[in-house]
Symmetry: C2
Subunit: 339 residues, 2 copies
Amino acid sequence: MTETDVTHLPFADLVDLLKTIFIRHGVSDHNATILAENCAGCERDGSTSHGVFRMAGYVSSLKSGWVDGKAVPQVEDVAPAFVRVDAKGGFAQPAFCAAKPLVLDKVKQNGVAVLAIRGSHHFSALWPDVEPFAEQGYVALSVVNSMSCVVPHGGKTPVFGTNPLAFASPRAGAAPFVFDQASSAIAHGDVQIAALAGHDLKPGMGVDSDGQPTTDPKAILNGGALLPFGGHKGNSIALMVEILSAALTGGNFSGEFDWSGHKGAQTPFTGQFILVIDPQCGGNNAFAERVAGICNLVLEAGQERLPGERRHKNRAKAEKEGIPLSQETLEKLKALSEG
Amino acid sequence: MTETDVTHLPFADLVDLLKTIFIRHGVSDHNATILAENCAGCERDGSTSHGVFRMAGYVSSLKSGWVDGKAVPQVEDVAPAFVRVDAKGGFAQPAFCAAKPLVLDKVKQNGVAVLAIRGSHHFSALWPDVEPFAEQGYVALSVVNSMSCVVPHGGKTPVFGTNPLAFASPRAGAAPFVFDQASSAIAHGDVQIAALAGHDLKPGMGVDSDGQPTTDPKAILNGGALLPFGGHKGNSIALMVEILSAALTGGNFSGEFDWSGHKGAQTPFTGQFILVIDPQCGGNNAFAERVAGICNLVLEAGQERLPGERRHKNRAKAEKEGIPLSQETLEKLKALSEG
């Protein structure tokens, strides 16, 4: 982006623009606010693969009738430390927001709480779901399954989604420690970028349409699939994500939903698992200081940066200067808000 | 092992022999039973790196005065779904056993429960801690940190232990689905085996004493260190394990304890985190059937076997034929029981 080509939009203005797009395409006002803040937050943090780049996919899925933008989630208080939500075919974020006050009550009361979301579409990053808990002093972990595009370790046909795992913890004197990582070896977006650039991938990223290992990004995209990260160990993480996000919640596995009747559908219809822990119940009252201590140790040992660090820097910059958007992107968003 | 060289010992007999060794070296009768059953269970399952092979290390640590074999753990009922245990410088397993009935009560009552163990030595596999929960119908996850021998991704000095994560889930019509995996790229034992055999390792397993990547197992063993599995993603798992096992519990980080005054000490003095979930609170009553379903899908997709499968086969065989032990191993164990 050249300087002249870029507009810096305040966060609230980007939220308004995105909200208009969601409402224009059949999302309720309440749900549109939640989704717009989530998407604008990703863009603000430089988490651009889940930022405004995704709006076309949101719109396409809404137009196809695959996802219900007006869904009213049903919160179920199942046990003293367990909340369940039926997202009713809507997005996961409104379901999550509907249950969050009860989850916070339960973790304060009991020391730990689980939130199991089913019948939900998750089309964003996971860190926006866990990081706010850490800002409030809690440890949070979440996993979500998606749509089958990852073959099991040693396998030939896709079973898993990219199945991210996100974790957030308070950290004294700094933004929370947060990571949000796919259990696939590489993101689909990065395979597309390599294909466009004509670059080969490193070994271990994916397989071709015969299930054979390949470093050719085009072979992965044309009927091939991704591999789990870290061999059989990442594979077990991916399987754990399916169990927690789908088997435990009552949602679909990544390969289970059928969107063939909804041309343009892009949002995976699965489930999501969230765990929240009150570290004040642990054995050490200086929990956040201890987390800061171990984070400092890994940086002193030579790790380049902590996950989330770049995001928090981008956020601080965007809060001062606004969120940078190219003229082309702004025009696309305006077109979506009108058409 | 040649046929004539092997004795097949019934599980109870191996437990008795190991118990004698523990008691001979200052472990209380109660704690000795727990440790002997744990260690014999590893041997029975063919999890031999945590089986009787470890007895010399147990004895060495006990002799050094580093670990208290007579420790009486103190269970603290912190919150409706949160149990804390101070292992009082003893092994983690007796602390775990002391808290387990309360943890089971809490998960039944609340849908989820956390157990935070501190001041504990864990010198065994993690699967024996989680698998019994799955046999009782619960989902369980546990992590434990150990002693610093793993450099952070991109780093030069060790910070993490091998920091395993274990997960267990009921599975209909079969033994539970269980995995127990180090967050290091390779086990220390496998580096030792490669060094003895004169084989190079695959890239990405470890660094030399200057923190430079190496495939030479001897360079890793002589002042070098291991790497996390799966690059920066496994690294984040290793850091999460430190946070949950130590910061949250009040135990030591992997690089924090000082055993220099205890010659022969081998057991890491840290903490352990256990999470137990009641899947009956989830959205699907056929949870164990759903887990069986996803496990079948990965096998149909071509994954060779599920983690834990080989162990369960070994167990079934050992339950019929007894646990195979070489004459040499038996003699070593008898020597430990006497000296």
